[in-house]
Subunit: 366 residues, 2 copies
């Protein structure tokens, strides 16, 4: 019988012997005098199955400590396990030059909650300015290295997100996102918060309230309006289109005449939504000041959110605050739940009512 000719052995070149590379489980095993499998068993917090003697366990752990062994995340994941890494993906850079527009407040909570649960964070930056990093059609794919990924901002391409979700990869979107079937998300409960603000005003005695908002279809915006209208309804106050003033440019359209007109019509309280720019509140605040309204004496003002930084020094507006760190933390909790296969939990985080100083009882009409 002719022995089949021994083929040469292709494959990768062995690592250069010169530099000491990071230790592997094999080295740990050698040092501990056990097999690589045993090392894996000791390190993996197996819930059942193999048992390891305390003696062996200690030998292994000692070797791990001595060598400073740390598992390779890529290998862990490839072997169908996890690597205790959570991704944070933002299409725009996570650290924009301007802190104001950053996700910083959310990340505070994200980092804390992740650390508390034993996860480290991987920052995946989408198309950054330089963008040499092949921001191809599959840029989102890198996140698969982690056990799951958190998405900030609504810029993540829907089809790629859908793909991740369809593949069963744990994904959580920070901010409501219903249009994407199956996408888990956490968001602030703007509806309840808006409702609460209206309830507060109604309790003070206001009977005619107007909402000033921008021309925007984002959930954060429409939810606030829903909450506002719901609040009116529950208080038995007049709602309908007349209660909402919507404009693409409030600072231009919210004129003094218009404001005076409302006042003459018996409107005693005004509510503005919080926007990226803060324009709605700025317009309301500015025009009211211009007209000579002294809040809350002549009329009450409220803001569905926090004031923009440039107005932060003024009197604290009545309204609510979005608990951004808590939102980040909630997102991490949900992501962790998905990673471990648990059911998803309540996606809404309550906002906190801020009494402020711009709302009071309506003026007594002569």
């Amino acid at each position: 019988m002719e022995e089949p000719r021994q083929r040469a052995r292709p494959g990768r070149t062995p690592a250069p012997a010169g530099r000491t590379s990071r230790p592997r489980q094999a080295e740990v095993a050698r040092l501990a005098g056990v097999s690589q499998a045993t090392v894996s068993l000791v390190l993996g917090a197996r819930k059942q199955g193999a048992t390891i003697s305390e003696e062996t366990r200690q030998k292994v752990l000692d070797a791990v400590r001595t060598l400073g062994y740390v598992p390779d995340p890529a290998a862990s994941r490839l072997a169908a396990a996890r690597n205790n890494l959570l991704g944070v993906f933002s299409f725009t850079s996570t650290f924009p030059t301007d802190v104001q527009h950053s996700y910083y407040p959310f990340l505070v909570g994200v980092e804390q909650e992740a650390a508390a649960r034993g996860y480290d964070l991987v920052l995946f930056t989408g198309s950054s300015t330089g963008g040499a990093g092949a921001a191809g059609p599959h840029a989102l794919n890198r996140v698969r290295l982690a056990d799951g990924c958190l998405f900030l901002g609504r810029h993540a391409p829907a089809d790629e997100l859908r793909r991740l979700v369809a593949d069963g990869f744990p994904v959580v979107h920070l901010g409501r996102r219903d249009e994407l079937e199956g996408l888990a998300w956490v968001g602030a409960d703007y509806i309840s918060a808006g409702q609460e603000v209206v309830a507060h005003l109604a309790a003070l005695g206001h009977r005619r309230i107007v909402l000033v908002r921008e021309d925007d279809e984002a959930p954060a915006s429409t939810d606030r309006e829903h909450g506002f209208l719901k609040g009116l309804e529950e208080a038995g106050l007049p709602g309908g289109p007349a209660a909402v003033f919507r404009s693409a440019d409030p600072e231009r359209d919210l004129t003094a005449e218009r404001l005076r007109g409302w006042l003459d019509d018996g409107v005693t309280a005004f509510v503005a939504e919080e926007t990226d720019t803060g324009d709605a509140w700025r317009a309301l605040h500015g025009t009211a000041h211009f007209v000579g309204i002294d809040a809350p004496r002549d009329a009450s003002l409220a803001l569905l959110g926090s004031p923009p930084p440039d107005l932060a020094d003024g009197p604290s507006p009545t309204g609510f605050d979005v608990p951004r760190p808590q939102l980040g933390a909630a997102a991490v909790r949900m992501l962790a739940a998905l990673v471990s296969g648990e059911k998803t939990r309540e996606p809404l985080v309550a906002c906190t009512f801020r009494p402020g100083s711009t709302a009071g009882p309506p003026p007594v009409r002569p």
Copy 2:
């Protein structure tokens, strides 16, 4: 001849057939009628070596499109023996509740540069309670999961850092750190910057200049003093201990009497170092104001750094700015160089002179 008994084949259970998993290169290969290796060659942007016919390339790309294949990053990185991950370690949390005390400005540059080079960032928090790797005495080992690691702040324990460096793990420290042999670092060139400020004052005509600094041995502090003294020397001005006022609590010790004494002695310009707290500048600024000095009319003031946030609204002090984003970027460049085995580069980043409005010609003495 007895055939060796056929061992059973242990290993992992095959994936549940139920769910259609994502396509692999093998499936693409089958559809395209080529081998898996060919698929890998087509997809990988090989710089040299194998050549692929245009026909085959198209067949493969078509199959990729048909199946919607996307590479598994875990597998890619495992096979390529690098994770494309850079660690960022800060002993305090990376996102402190107070933005002011954060490394945010550095991270802006770190993120940009890392993204431009195709790296993702892993955030390690030293103080984190759980922190996956139980913040024991070997908490730093956790960073070995990345290809290299950037250290922010000087809280990282020296012995552990030393260990990483000794093991050939690529490490870069943000901020000068000479005492640790072999540690790569990048830092701001405080010496040149301090020198430049003094040169500016000297050029304006000042002949007696005093530096106010805290009682601190941090390189950022001593470097500023060196630069200051070097500047004096180059301008042929009197240096020595008399030119430097050092105090652990400048706000208490920098009294009005002392300041008046200097003025009487012919000192016409004062320089403060920038500190974490901004106390040196605050003391100098405050006492000068108290004494009735109007800068730059009665005397010139300069600051070796940027003013603290609470004084940011006042007149812009003459001095220099530390280009924090650029420092972060430079640190990433150096780290990337270390990871790919290149030589390290220039560790110093130049500060930018800020003319400001607190320095001018010395007053004409009667």
